[in-house]
Amino acid sequence: MTTNVDALPQAAEAKAPNSWTIALFNLRLWLKSSTPYLNLLGLAGFVLLWYLLTEYFKVPYFEKLPGPVASFREWVSEDPAYGISLYTPDYYQHIGTSVMRVLKAFVLATLLGVPLGLFMGWKKIFRDYTFPLLETLRPIPMLAWVPLSILMWPGREASIVFLTFLGSFFATVLNTLLGVESIDEVYFRAAHSLGAKPRHVFFKIILPGSLPFVFTGLQISMGFAWFSLVAGEMLAGEYGLGYLIWNSFILVQYPVIIIAMVTLGVIGWLSSALIRLVGDRLMQWKVREACR
């Protein structure tokens, strides 16, 4: 066949790389670029500015705030003045409590939200029933749910998880729905033409086709989960990073506020990096497309 001549060199060039090779390659590329160093410089610059404002020049309005040096000293102290540092079990108890709450809420929101969103995108009738409801409930701020949540659930634990869940849930449903709608009509036609039955359309077109949006949605929903969690914990908590921040404020233990805030930031960032990682594993086609 005449086409052989053309097929061979291209076939050799397009050898499928495995995902580790790609990750390593990307990492090396990243380290060679200026990006990581500029990232670090930006962070360092911010800390320096904060230090100058609060601790060095003691600029009005800023002088009352805890500075980076004081907070860091407290954080690494074996005998912290306010009882929270890397060496105190309390610190980890707060972290653990918050992480568990977010995890419960996030998993629940994903397990309910993704199928719901897929279904809404798949069946127009179902969407017609549910979409207005979703659009009315979604803009209600989490704080507005607090009273109902407390009335409804027996303990404070359940109501905090519920609040966290709500924040996460709506973002997941909406993004999943958008994901289904983003799938080009031509893939549905192709699938039907190839003899696909409804369940194939669902599992082989709708599900994989919406995954990129679903994972963007999960990252957003993780952000909302932390946001709602802290709100919930500030109102009614006994443990947790949100509670720690509010309590330290009341007890005038200002460096602890900074410790808890930075901890929240780092954990939040790690959790969305984790989601991205899982997403990349499930969507090799997207990863490989990007490194073309």
């Binding site: 086409t3 086709g209 090799q284």
Partner: protein, 281 residues
């Protein structure tokens, strides 16, 4: 490319009888196809050319089963596919290759090619994979089965898509301007590929294009359509012997047919232009 070699009775004759299609009958009433009739023999390589927006895709979609027609009938091998009263449904006996390609980007080449047999349930996954590998090999597409569509060239993608269609041993291959966005070099490769596939399988091919040279080079019959609403203006019998290759492009027959074709199309293009319609490519 295999099953039909042993197939006895020719399959894939299409009879289009007085088909009319009106879009949006209660509102704007766009008459896309008007009383159009065609008889396509089993194993014919039928090419449709016509001005942009004249209703070619509309006709193809009706054969594919993506939408119904307003009046008239379309028959496939003596079975009624659709009529004014009968809404069609798509099926693996009439596979479409789309203009911009419709390989599933989330599946590898192998998963794409085996999609049809696997969802139809006639074959186990292993069996389908074996057959797909064999076929990709015969078609000169080996070594890419674990790549995703985004990783291979556009010409390669289009060939894989044709392979995916052929895996189902369809009665008709429906191609809607499949090579439109390709550069001239890639086109020569995919043309030769499609001709090889056709020569080996002798499937009925229903091929839409704007490109007159492509039409004559590939087709057994070229149907030139009028501006919207679509009707058949002229049918050219392309008596260039097969198997064809690029040398056919300089034959006297080819040049004569091309001249004939250009004249007919030019007339329609002028009409379309005067009617304020969009120009044809």
């Amino acid at each position: 490319m295999n099953a039909s070699a042993s197939g006895m009775s020719p399959r894939g004759s299409i009879s289009i009888r007085e088909v009319t299609k009106i879009y949006d009958p209660d509102g704007a009433k766009v008459l896309a196809v008007d009383n159009c009739s065609m008889e396509i023999e089993a194993g014919e390589f039928c090419v449709l050319v016509g001005p942009s927006g004249c209703g070619k895709t509309t006709l193809l979609n009706a054969i594919a089963g993506f939408h119904g027609i307003t009046t008239g009938e379309i028959w496939l091998d003596g079975e009624l596919l659709c009529s004014g009263a009968r809404t069609p449904s798509p099926g693996a006996d009439r596979i479409v290759v789309f203009q911009n390609g419709a390989l599933f980007p989330w599946f590898t080449v192998l998963e794409n090619v085996t999609f049809g047999p696997v969802v139809q349930g006639g074959m186990s996954k292993a069996e389908a994979h074996d057959r797909a590998r064999t076929m990709l090999g015969q078609m000169g597409l080996m070594g890419i089965e674990n790549n995703y569509p985004s990783e291979i060239s556009s010409g390669m993608r289009r060939r894989v898509e044709i392979a995916r269609a052929m895996m189902n041993d369809p009665r008709v291959l429906l191609l809607d301007e499949p090579f439109r966005a390709m550069d001239a070099l890639t086109k020569t490769v995919v043309h030769q590929f499609l001709l090889d596939v056709y020569d080996k399988s002798r499937k009925t091919v229903f091929f839409i294009t704007h490109d007159l040279e492509e039409a004559i080079f590939l087709g057994s019959k070229v149907y030139i359509m009028t501006t919207r609403p679509a009707r058949i203006k002229k049918v050219l019998d392309v008596d260039i012997p097969r198997p064809r290759d690029f040398r056919a492009l300089s034959s006297a027959t080819y040049l004569r047919l091309k001249q004939e074709c250009i004249e007919a199309v030019h007339e329609e293009a002028l009409k379309a232009f005067k009617a304020g319609e969009r120009e044809m490519a």
